[in-house]
């Protein structure tokens, strides 16, 4: 702790690992980042970011309620997030995102209402608990202090299960994301796949909440994935890139949080935002460089159409 943050990486890592709470924070953060990077990439492709955010917010009353009842907050997070996922997938119109003009706004309105109610319940539970005020901040904005060995184990089990299920869903999940009508015609149970993915998203959101807090889940769930989709259009590469960026953001964020007085939620979110901005700038520059003309003028388009024959 005496040396502080410097450019000697070995020394920095030695300092970090000399505290057990920090070792646990890095373990938990890595597990959470891998899961959030992978699930988040598909969430961004499926355009379910709003549902993902709602699931994270639903985790807050779960955690607050569990704390109030004297239970482990982790069970509250996972329980409420998975239950929320099942409720959202039962709302009409959820698996018809691309199918028609109607339905989408209705779904958003229903999900938004659920979100507001979840936040209100969370505040009620915090009020009932009469606990130390800092608990609220930690639930909403995250902490690296006080992650127990048992919590790491629970995250590891949940995260492994989540990734195994994601790999098993694999191609049908991507198929029903890109082209739900054709996937259904090919016998893919799109409704089931959609529900299963929302449950996985709930687990990922619940796990991530325990590090970044309910409100800043998006730093890990969306920012790396959104950056990855801007950097590549290849699904496998994009998935790997999303995971790598999420892990990088988490490690750097936890390191900065350790050496600075500012909380982890701030660092992880800021780093995620920076990476997203860089990726968007890269996309804008390469698009403008003319390698991918986005809007060909009508005569050009007609010409290129006819010459491809």
């Amino acid at each position: 702790m005496t040396a502080g943050l410097n450019w000697n990486l070995v020394d920095v890592i030695r300092q970090l690992l000399s505290f057990h709470f920090m070792v646990n924070a890095l373990r938990a953060g890595t597990i959470v980042a891998v899961v959030a990077g992978a699930i988040g990439y598909l969430m961004v492709l499926r355009r379910q970011s709003f549902a993902g955010h709602t699931l994270a917010v639903i985790g807050f009353p779960g955690a607050a309620g569990a704390t109030w009842l004297g239970l482990d907050a982790a069970f509250g997070y996972f329980g409420f997030c998975v239950a929320g996922a099942l409720i959202i997938s039962a709302l009409p119109g959820v698996d018809r995102r691309n199918a028609g003009l109607g339905g989408f706004s209705e779904e958003s309105a229903a999900i938004g209402t659920v979100q507001a109610f979840a936040l209100a319940c969370g505040f009620l539970f915090v009020g009932l608990y009469h606990g130390f005020l800092n608990g609220l901040n930690n639930l909403l904005f995250g902490t690296i202090i006080g992650i127990t060995d048992q919590q790491v184990l629970v995250l590891l089990i949940a995260g492994t299960g989540c990734l195994v299920a994601l790999v098993a869903l694999g191609r049908p999940l991507l198929f029903s994301t890109i082209d739900p009508d054709v996937a259904r015609a090919r016998g893919v149970p799109t409704r089931l796949v959609s529900t299963a993915f929302l449950v996985l998203l709930g687990i990922a959101a619940g796990g991530t909440s325990q590090i970044t807090g309910s409100l800043l889940v998006f730093a890990l769930l969306v920012a790396p994935a959104a950056a990855a989709t801007r950097l590549t259009a290849q699904p496998a590469v994009g998935l790997a890139l999303s995971i790598a960026l999420a892990v990088l953001i988490t490690w750097m964020g936890e390191t900065f949080a350790f050496f600075s007085p500012y909380p982890i939620g701030f660092w992880v979110t800021t780093l995620g935002f920076a990476i997203f901005l860089l990726a968007t700038a890269y996309r804008g520059i390469t698009d403008r460089a003319g390698r991918h003309p986005t809007i060909p003028s009508p005569p050009q388009r007609a010409l290129s159409e006819s010459t491809t024959r």
Partner: protein, 316 residues
């Protein structure tokens, strides 16, 4: 390219007797044309007899009988809301057939969907969709298999075969120059070609295309029509195509199905595409003209609401 007549590549050309057959709702076994070499319902690509479909408690159409043979290029016409898309979905088994009989590729609908290429009615991909055309075509190959493709040795030959086939269909539809671009950045015609490639990648025996020419400009309409026709001839795939504007595909058609609320009329285009038949079916004046090259052109108000239609008369 501008084929009109008899040179069907598959050797199962519609017999001369078919020219006179108009399937109606006359009742039992009407859709059994007296073709020579044992053409039962199971030998046909699609065979419907007195079929009806219901969707949301409402009968969409009923008494529909039709026969599609291997390698035929068939257009499905009809007014808005008459259930043309539902007909394709019923053939796919996505909408149940509540009356009559249906055989698709020798089995009940849905059983042999793996041998059917389907292009649903849609608007274009959003410009923000960041997935390449090749990925979309590849999903047509093995997107319904659980798990992810493994690059390890025992499966290497399988994924090589997949990549090879994806390259083939990209060349077939002429998409080499844009197949590796994000699909959202492709033009409407390019997207339609990529989706046709996706529908073709598993070497289907039947291609169901729902308004593939919709929202394309005139040049793209012509080139996509020619592409579909060449696929139909070269690969021996039967094509059923829902169309709103019949003119771009008219030179290539073997058969036309005109769908109405009660029953369907099927026959060669010269017979269905006449001023008298169309005027009777749509219940509004329609002209059929011939241009300088002798091609038919349909002129008229095709989009009358379904309710305003008279019931088509069935003459057994």
């Amino acid at each position: 390219m501008n084929r009109r007549g008899s040179d069907v590549a598959t050797g199962t050309a519609p017999g001369p007797d078919l020219a006179g057959v108009i399937h109606t709702a006359a009742g039992d076994s009407v859709a059994q044309p007296s073709h020579g070499e044992g053409m039962g319902p199971d030998r046909e690509v699609v065979w419907l007899s007195g079929a009806a479909a219901r969707l949301g408690g409402q009968t969409i159409w009923s008494d529909v009988s039709l026969t599609v043979r291997p390698g035929q290029f068939v257009a499905i016409l009809g007014p808005n809301g008459v259930g043309k898309s539902t007909l394709l979905k019923a053939i796919l088994g996505l909408v149940p057939i509540t009356a009559g009989q249906a055989r698709v590729l020798g089995a009940k609908p849905k059983v042999r969907n793996a041998a059917i290429g389907y292009l649903p009615q849609r608007r274009a991909f959003d410009p923000g969709v960041r997935i390449r055309g090749v990925d979309i075509i590849r999903l047509g190959w093995d997107g319904d298999r659980w798990g992810v493709p493994l690059p390890t040795l025992p499966w290497a030959h399988r994924s090589r075969a997949a990549r090879q086939r994806v390259r083939e269909v990209i060349a077939l539809v002429g998409a080499q120059s844009y197949a590796h671009r994000p699909v959202g950045q492709c033009s409407g015609g390019e997207q339609q070609r990529l989706l046709i490639a996706q529908a073709l990648v598993r070497r289907p025996e039947l291609l169901l295309l729902d308004e593939p020419l919709d929202s394309l400009d005139v040049t793209s309409q012509a080139s996509v029509s020619a592409l579909i026709q060449s696929v139909c001839r070269c690969e021996g795939v039967a094509v059923m195509l829902v169309a709103h504007d019949i003119n771009p595909i008219l030179p290539y058609l073997d058969q036309v199905i005109f769908l109405a609320g009660h029953g369907a009329v099927m026959g060669p285009p010269e017979q269905i595409i006449t001023a008298e038949t169309l005027t009777m079916l749509y219940g509004t004046p329609i002209d059929v003209l011939r241009d300088h090259a002798g091609r038919l052109v349909v002129v008229g108000h095709q989009d009358l609401p379904f309710q305003q239609l008279p019931r088509p008369r069935h003459e057994p």
